[in-house]
């Protein structure tokens, strides 16, 4: 890997990490959910800093090129996140329904 690419890759990953930490600090995402993003950033930084590592693993897993492995891994990772989000949304929908019902019943009793 050439140095320009290495450098821009590290800068990008660092920016991403800082942005997520910033969101956590501003309490826009909870710590629990931020880990889902921080952890992959961390792994990608390691891959970037240790050049031979990525090729070694992709060879071991039988990928033609390392980039194929990265793309596959990212798609799998994004799918898992989306499924997790769907679970969270369904859960929240149930809770909101319950809240609307109970509040509405209480309000009508008060009158």
């Amino acid at each position: 890997m050439n140095y320009e690419l290495l450098l821009s890759s590290i800068v990008f990953l660092l920016c991403l990490t800082i942005f997520i930490l910033h969101l956590v600090k501003k309490r826009r995402i909870s710590v629990k959910y931020s880990l889902v993003w921080l952890f992959p950033c961390f792994i990608l930084i390691i891959f970037t800093l240790v050049p031979g590592l990525m090729n070694m693993i992709s060879n071991f897993l039988g990928f033609q090129t390392a980039s194929n492995m990265i793309l596959t891994a990212l798609i799998g990772f994004l799918m898992i996140i989306t499924i997790a989000l769907t679970v969270i949304v369904s859960n929240q929908k149930d809770k909101i329904r319950l809240l609307i019902q109970e509040v509405s019943i209480l309000k009508s009793e008060k009158k």
Binding site: I100, S104, I105, S108
Partner: protein, 236 residues
């Protein structure tokens, strides 16, 4: 026995008062004691105004929940107020008050837990919806039979009566998506006894049915999947 009619209403300004008056008149005429709870499902028209002006017992949902969430609110109310029998009844003029006595009779006698007001068990000349709709109902019926072993003819009927046990079940948990066929399947799976009694229904006077033509296939897939999920799961 305390009886209550749960009437979900979403933008029913044209028909809700008529439905309510029918029940009041019927109570006077037949010396029955059907209480009414209207669930105003976040209507955007004059429904709420009509309900207040006529002092109709109602709960106004602070946000629109859809038919399942609205009906469940009614069951919660029935549970909190210790009702013995709850009847689901539409506010749009589709259902006829004169059949309510028939559908609660088996429950009063303690034979069954739930009675469905069914359009398809006897051949009466009445509104029975379109051919496509009937085919859909038959298909749902087939899948319910497949997973529970019990034939239910009018799977999407919104006119139903339940006993105290099911009021408490429904208050606790009610399938909010595709409520009628799914709750029927769930309760059969749990070992409750469900029967059907023949009723006539009118063509809806106003408003649009919640099931639209082009969405029908999507609806069917969802309902069948829901039934299979319920059916394949636990057995109590």
């Amino acid at each position: 026995m305390k009886k209550i009619m749960i009437i979900p209403a979403y933008n029913e300004e044209d028909s809700i008062l008529k439905t309510y008056n029918q029940i009041v008149n019927y109570n006077k005429k037949h010396k029955t004691n059907y209480d009414v709870i209207v669930i105003n499902d976040g209507s955007t028209d004059k429904t709420e105004k009509i309900l207040i002006e006529n002092e109709i017992n109602h709960i106004k949902l602070i946000n629109n929940l859809g038919i399942g969430g609205a009906v469940q609110t009614g069951y919660k109310y029935a549970y909190d107020n210790n009702y013995d029998i709850a009847v689901q009844f539409d506010g749009d003029g589709q259902h006829n008050i004169k059949y309510v006595a028939n559908i609660i009779k088996p429950i009063e006698e303690g034979q069954v837990n739930m009675v469905i007001g069914s359009r398809f068990i006897e051949n009466i000349e009445t509104f029975r919806s379109s051919t496509a709709r009937r085919a859909g109902i038959k298909l749902i019926s087939f899948f319910i039979k497949l997973v529970t072993g019990k034939k239910i003819y009018d799977t999407t009927s919104g006119m139903r009566a339940v006993d105290k046990k099911l009021i408490s079940e429904f208050a606790n948990s009610y399938p909010v998506e595709y409520p009628e066929p799914v709750s029927t399947t769930l309760m059969l799976k749990k070992g409750y006894i469900i029967s059907e009694v023949s009723v006539e229904m009118n063509e809806r006077e106003c408003g649009v049915s919640s099931i639209r033509t082009w969405k029908n296939i999507y609806y069917m897939i969802n309902v069948i999947l829901s039934i299979l999920v319920v059916g394949v799961g636990r057995k109590k």
